[in-house]
C-alpha cells in the first residue's frame, strides 16, 4: 500500500518586545537567572496582568503577513495545569477566539508550490525555564530542578497550520518560510538555538487517496530545521512500519532524540489532559478596530515572497531572486541603490550573492557594517562593462573598495588594474614576447596551435594582467600567421 503523510505544524514564536506580555520586565536572552522578574511574572499573590499593546500589534502583523484575518474582538483564556515553571498554575493563552485566523503560506519544494493553510495565530505567555540537575538532566531521574523565571511571561505567538503538509521536506520549507516572514517583520529574534522559535509537528499517515485522518502523534523537541525534517521523516517511517506490521498507533506525544535520530514516547496520551479553559477574568476582551488593523497593515514591510516575485520581474532568474531575497536587508538595500543608479539587475545581484556575501562570511563582518554603497557597486558593474578592468581584476577592485581604498575607478587606478586599451602598447609587448620566445614561434609554425595559450600567458604576465586576454590572443595569432 502507498501511504500519504498528513502533517500539521505548530510554531511558537517569542516576540522581541522590549518588555514582557503582561508586566514591565525586560525581555532579554542570556541574563542572569531570575533577574528580569516582578510580582506579576512570578505569580505573587495579588499581582495582575496588563497586556502589552506592542505584542498585540506584532501578532496582528504576523497574522496579516500570513494572509490571516484579524478578529474584531479576541479573548484571553486561562489554560490550567500545574508545573513548577508555570508560576500562576495557569498560562494566559487563547482558546476559541484567537487574534488571527484563516491564513496561508505558499511553500515551494522541488519547484512545486503548495498552499499550506493556517488555522490560527494566537497570543500567549511563555513559561519559566526548568533545568533538571543530576543524572543527565532527565526529568524523571533529576535530583533537583532549577527554575529561572526570566522567560516567564515573555510574549509568545503560536501559529497553527492545518494538516496540509505532505512531506518532511515540505514541513521544513514551511517552517523556514514562516521564520523568514517573522524575521522580515522584525517581530522576533528568530534564533532557533535560543528557543525563540520552536516547533511541534503533528504527524499521521493514511492510505494514499483516503479522506479521513489517521492517529495523530505530536512530535516535540526539534531545535533546527534539519531536526524538524529528520524527526518528521523518522516519524512517518515509524508509523508506516507499525501499521504495516499489523500494529496499532497510539495518539500520544513523542520526543525527538537528536543524537539517536529517533522519536520516543513521552507516555503522555494526547487528549487525556483537561486544561479547563475559561475566560481570563483579569483581562478585558481585546478589540482590534479596523483602523488599528489598517495601521498595522500599512506598516508591514515587503515580505520575502513578494520580494522574490518582484526580483523575478526585474529579470533575475528564480534561484538568484530567491537567494537575494533571503539575503540580509543591508545587502538587499545595496542592490536597490545600485540598480537605481543604473546597474544591470542581474550583474548587481550576482556580485552581491557571490563575491560580497563570500567576503562577509570570510571576514565575519556584520552586514550592517558592510562598507559598500549602491553607487560603488553600480560603478564596479560599469567599469567591467566598459572593459576598463577585466572581470578577474574586478574582484580585486571590489576587495580594495571593501577595504576602504576608494571608489572602484580609484581602486583600479591605484592598484594599477586598468586594462591596457592602447593597441600600440599591447603590440609592443606582443612583439617583445615573440622575440623572447623563438622556440614557441617555431612550434606554432610546426602546427602546435596550443602554444598560443602559453604566449598569451606570457603577454598577460608582462602586462601584469592589464591587457585584455581576448585582444592579446587575436593579436598573437595575427602576428604568428603573418
Amino acid at each position: 500500500m502507498t501511504w500519504e503523510s498528513v502533517i500539521g505544524i505548530e510554531v511558537h514564536i517569542e516576540l522581541s518586545t522590549s518588555s514582557k506580555m503582561f508586566c514591565g520586565c525586560a525581555v532579554e536572552f542570556g541574563a542572569e537567572p531570575n533577574t528580569n522578574i516582578c510580582p506579576v511574572c512570578l505569580g505573587l499573590p495579588g499581582a495582575l496582568p496588563v497586556p502589552n499593546r506592542k505584542a498585540i500589534e506584532w501578532i496582528m502583523a504576523i497574522g496579516l503577513a500570513l494572509n490571516c484575518e484579524v478578529s474584531e474582538r479576541s479573548v484571553f483564556h486561562r489554560k490550567n495545569y500545574f508545573y513548577a515553571d508555570l508560576p500562576k498554575g495557569y498560562q494566559i493563552s487563547q482558546f476559541d477566539i484567537p487574534v488571527c485566523h484563516d491564513g496561508y503560506l505558499d511553500v515551494t519544494v522541488d519547484g512545486e508550490t503548495r498552499r499550506i493553510e493556517i488555522e490560527r495565530a494566537h497570543m500567549e505567555e511563555d513559561t519559566g525555564k526548568s533545568t533538571h540537575v543530576g543524572d543527565g538532566g532527565r526529568i524523571h531521574a533529576a535530583e533537583s530542578t532549577l527554575l529561572d523565571f526570566n522567560r516567564s511571561g515573555v510574549p509568545l505567538v503560536e501559529v497553527v497550520s492545518r494538516p496540509d503538509i505532505r512531506s518532511a521536506a515540505e514541513a521544513r520549507a514551511y517552517a523556514q518560510d514562516l521564520r523568514a516572514v517573522v524575521a522580515e517583520l522584525g517581530a522576533s529574534d528568530v534564533r532557533l538555538e535560543e528557543g525563540s522559535v520552536r516547533f511541534d509537528a503533528n504527524v499521521s499517515i493514511r492510505p494514499e487517496g483516503a479522506e479521513g485522518l489517521g492517529t495523530k502523534v505530536e512530535v516535540k523537541n526539534m531545535n533546527s530545521f534539519r531536526s524538524l525534517e529528520r524527526a518528521v521523516e523518522y516519524e512517518i517511517e515509524r508509523q508506516i512500519s507499525v501499521v504495516e506490521a499489523g500494529g496499532e498507533l497510539t495518539q500520544e506525544t513523542r520526543h525527538w532524540d537528536e543524537e539517536a535520530g529517533v522519536t520516543h514516547s513521552m507516555r503522555i496520551k494526547e487528549g487525556s489532559s483537561d486544561y479547563r479553559y475559561f475566560t481570563e477574568p483579569d483581562l478585558a476582551p481585546m478589540v482590534m478596530s479596523a483602523s488599528w488593523v489598517d495601521e498595522v497593515r500599512v506598516g508591514l514591510p515587503e515580505l520575502p515572497a513578494e520580494r522574490k516575485a518582484r526580483y523575478s520581474n526585474e529579470g533575475l532568474d528564480s534561484d538568484l531572486a530567491g537567494v537575494l531575497s533571503s539575503s540580509p536587508v543591508e545587502v538587499r538595500d545595496i542592490f536597490e541603490a545600485a540598480t537605481a543608479a543604473g546597474a544591470d539587475h542581474r550583474r548587481a545581484a550576482n556580485w552581491l550573492v557571490g563575491e560580497v556575501t563570500a567576503w562577509l562570511r570570510r571576514t565575519e563582518t556584520d552586514p550592517a557594517k558592510l562598507p559598500l554603497g549602491g553607487e560603488q557597486l553600480a560603478e564596479l558593474v560599469e567599469i567591467v562593462d566598459e572593459g576598463v578592468v577585466s572581470s578577474s581584476a574586478a574582484k580585486v577592485v571590489l576587495e580594495g573598495v571593501l577595504q576602504g581604498e576608494g571608489s572602484p575607478r580609484e581602486v583600479a587606478e591605484a592598484r594599477d588594474l586598468v586594462q591596457i586599451s592602447d593597441m600600440s602598447a599591447i603590440e609592443e609587448i606582443v612583439a617583445k614576447v615573440l622575440a623572447d620566445n623563438p622556440e614557441a614561434v617555431d612550434s606554432y609554425a610546426a602546427g602546435e596551435e596550443k602554444v598560443v595559450g602559453f604566449l598569451v600567458g606570457q603577454v598577460m604576465t608582462a602586462s601584469r594582467g592589464k591587457a585584455d586576454p581576448k585582444l592579446v590572443s587575436e593579436l598573437l595569432r595575427k602576428k604568428l600567421s603573418s
Binding site: G43, L44, P45, P87, G89, Y90, R276
Partner: protein, 489 residues
C-alpha cells in the same frame, strides 16, 4: 464622646483644630485593641511600630502645613488579603503563613498617600471564602455585640474592628457580600463599589470577576471619604475603569425627595427573620414619608443568583489559588517529586472550605461539565444583569435587607455549608452584575443585635446610592455602640 468613637470626619476636624494629634487617635485605637482583641480577635497583625511612625509623620506633616486630605492621620485597618509591603499578609491561610509581600496593593499605596495610618491587618475567612470569619486558619473573630456570635464574613475582622473602635475605618473585599454582610451583623456601614472602580492590584484574588475592595466605617460620610481615597483608574489593573467617576460626597444632604426607590420582592419571606423584615419595612415607610416614591419591584432571577454564584466564584477561585503550590513562596509540603510536593503543600495549606470550593470549581470547569455548569452560570449572570437593567428603567435605587438574619451563633452553620451560603442571598446579585451596594445599620433586634439595610444602585450610581444611604442613616438615627466587657489594658 471618647476618641475611638469619632467618625473620620469628626476626627479630622479635631486634628485640624489641633485638639488632638494623629498619635492620640492611634493610641486610642491601639488601646481599644489591647482591651478587646482577646475577646474579638479582629486582627491578625497589629503593626504598632509602623503605625506609630506613620502617625508621627502625619502629625509632623500637618505641623508643616502639609495636609493629605480627609484621611490624613486617621488610623485604619486593612483586611489581610490586601498586600502590605513588609507586613505579613496571609489571607488567613496556613499556605501563606509568614508571607511578607514585597509590594503594596494599590489601595494600600493610596491610603498611605492619603495620609492614613495603617493599624494592622484584620482577620477573614480563608481567602475570603465564608460568611462568618470562622474559616480563618488563625482562629475565629467574634461579634462585639455578642461574643458568642460571629461578626459575619468574610471581612469579619474589619467589621469588628470598626464596630469596637480599634480602627476608625477599614477596608474589606466583597465577592458575594463579604463587606456588606459583616457590616450588617456588626452595626457599621459597609460598601461595595462598582466593579472596576477600585483597583484589585495587590488584592489576593478569590473570584476575579466579582472581587471588589470597599470601605467599612462608622458613618455613610466616612464610607464616601474612604471610597474617594481608594478608587480611580489604575494602569496596573486591566479591568480598572478609566472613565469619569461619580461623586459620593456630593449629595449626602440632598434627601430622597423625588427619588424612586424599588423594594426587591424576592428578598423577603421565608428564611428572613421577622425582626429584620419589620425593621426594613419601617425604613421603607420612612423613606416614603421623606418624599421617595416607593414601589415593589420583582427581579425573578435573584432566586437563581446564589447557585450561579456558587459555580462562577469557585471556578475562578480554582485557578486563582493554583499559584499556591509551595514552589516560590509560602508553606511548602514535603514531596519526593514536584507533583507530590505541590499536592502535599495544598493538602496541608488549604482549610476545608477552600478545598471544597477549589474542588467544586475544578469540577465545574471540567470538560464535559463546563457547559452544564460554568457556561450555564454565565448565562444566569447575564440574565441577572438584564433583570437589573429592567428594574433600573423605573427606579433609581433598589433596597432590601443586607442579610436575612442578624448575627448567628458561632459554630451554628459551620457544618452546614448551604445554610452558611444563604447568608449572602441579598448581596450576591450586585456582585454578579458588578453594581455598587451599601449596607447601613438601621436598628437592633430584641437580642440587641444590629440589623442592616441594603441600598443597591446601577453601575457608577454611587452618587445617588450615597444620597439615599445618608438619608437612611439619618432616618434610622442609629447611634448605639456595642458594649463589651473590656479587659484592663
Amino acid at each position: 464622646m471618647t476618641l475611638h468613637e469619632l467618625t473620620i470626619a469628626e476626627a479630622g476636624e479635631r486634628l485640624r483644630a489641633r485638639e488632638v494629634s494623629s498619635s492620640d487617635l492611634l493610641e486610642a485605637a491601639l488601646d481599644r485593641a489591647s482591651r478587646t482583641e482577646a475577646q474579638l480577635h479582629a486582627y491578625l497583625t497589629i503593626d504598632r511600630e509602623g503605625a506609630r511612625e506613620a502617625a508621627r509623620k502625619a502629625d509632623a506633616d500637618l505641623a508643616d502645613g502639609i495636609d493629605h486630605g480627609p484621611l490624613h492621620g486617621v488610623p485604619v485597618a486593612l483586611k489581610d488579603n490586601m498586600c502590605t509591603r513588609g507586613v505579613e499578609t496571609t489571607a488567613s491561610s496556613q499556605i501563606l503563613a509568614g508571607y511578607i509581600p514585597p509590594y503594596d496593593a494599590t489601595v494600600t499605596r493610596k491610603l498611605k498617600e492619603a495620609g492614613a495610618v495603617i493599624v494592622g491587618k484584620t482577620n477573614l475567612d480563608e481567602f475570603a471564602m465564608g460568611s462568618s470569619t470562622e474559616n480563618s486558619a488563625y482562629g475565629t473573630s467574634y461579634n462585639p455585640w455578642d461574643i458568642g456570635r460571629v461578626p459575619g464574613g468574610s471581612s469579619g475582622g474589619s467589621a469588628a474592628a470598626v464596630a469596637i473602635g480599634s480602627a476608625f475605618a477599614a477596608l474589606g473585599s466583597d465577592t458575594g457580600g463579604s463587606i456588606r454582610q459583616p457590616a450588617s451583623l456588626t452595626g457599621v456601614v459597609g460598601m461595595k463599589p462598582t466593579y472596576g472602580t477600585v483597583s484589585r492590584y495587590g488584592l489576593i484574588a478569590f473570584a476575579s470577576s466579582l472581587d471588589q475592595i470597599g470601605p467599612l466605617s462608622r458613618s455613610v460620610q466616612d464610607a464616601a471619604l474612604m471610597l474617594e481615597a481608594i478608587w480611580g483608574h489604575d494602569p496596573l489593573d486591566a479591568t480598572s475603569y478609566s472613565g469619569s467617576y461619580p461623586n459620593p460626597s456630593a449629595a449626602l444632604d440632598d434627601g430622597v425627595s423625588g427619588l424612586k426607590v424599588g423594594v426587591v420582592k424576592e428578598l423577603a419571606g421565608e428564611g428572613y427573620e421577622p425582626a429584620v423584615e419589620t425593621a426594613v419595612s419601617a425604613m421603607v415607610d420612612k423613606l416614603s414619608d421623606a418624599g421617595a416614591a416607593v414601589v415593589e419591584v420583582s427581579l425573578p432571577t435573584f432566586d437563581i443568583a446564589l447557585s450561579a454564584y456558587y459555580l462562577i466564584a469557585p471556578a475562578e477561585a480554582s485557578a486563582n489559588l493554583a499559584r499556591f503550590d509551595g514552589v516560590r513562596y509560602g508553606h511548602r509540603g514535603e514531596g519526593a517529586t514536584t507533583e507530590k510536593l505541590m499536592a502535599r503543600t495544598r493538602a496541608e495549606g488549604f482549610g476545608p472550605e477552600v478545598t471544597r470550593r477549589v474542588l467544586l470549581g475544578t469540577y465545574a470547569l471540567s470538560a464535559g461539565y463546563y457547559d452544564a455548569f460554568y457556561g450555564q452560570a454565565q448565562k444566569v449572570r447575564s440574565a441577572i444583569q438584564e433583570d437589573f437593567s429592567r428594574a433600573y428603567g423605573s427606579v433609581d435605587v433598589l433596597v432590601s435587607p443586607t442579610s436575612p438574619t442578624v448575627a448567628f451563633e458561632a459554630g451554628a452553620r459551620v457544618d452546614d455549608p448551604l445554610a452558611m451560603y444563604l447568608s449572602d442571598i441579598c448581596t450576591i446579585p450586585s456582585n454578579l452584575a458588578g453594581h455598587p451596594a451599601i449596607s447601613i445599620p438601621i436598628g437592633l433586634d430584641e437580642q440587641i443585635l444590629p440589623i442592616g439595610f441594603q441600598v443597591m444602585a446601577p453601575a457608577l450610581g454611587e452618587t445617588v446610592m450615597f444620597q439615599v444611604a445618608a438619608t437612611v442613616e439619618s432616618l434610622a438615627g442609629f447611634t448605639e455602640r456595642p458594649v463589651l466587657e473590656e479587659l484592663a489594658s
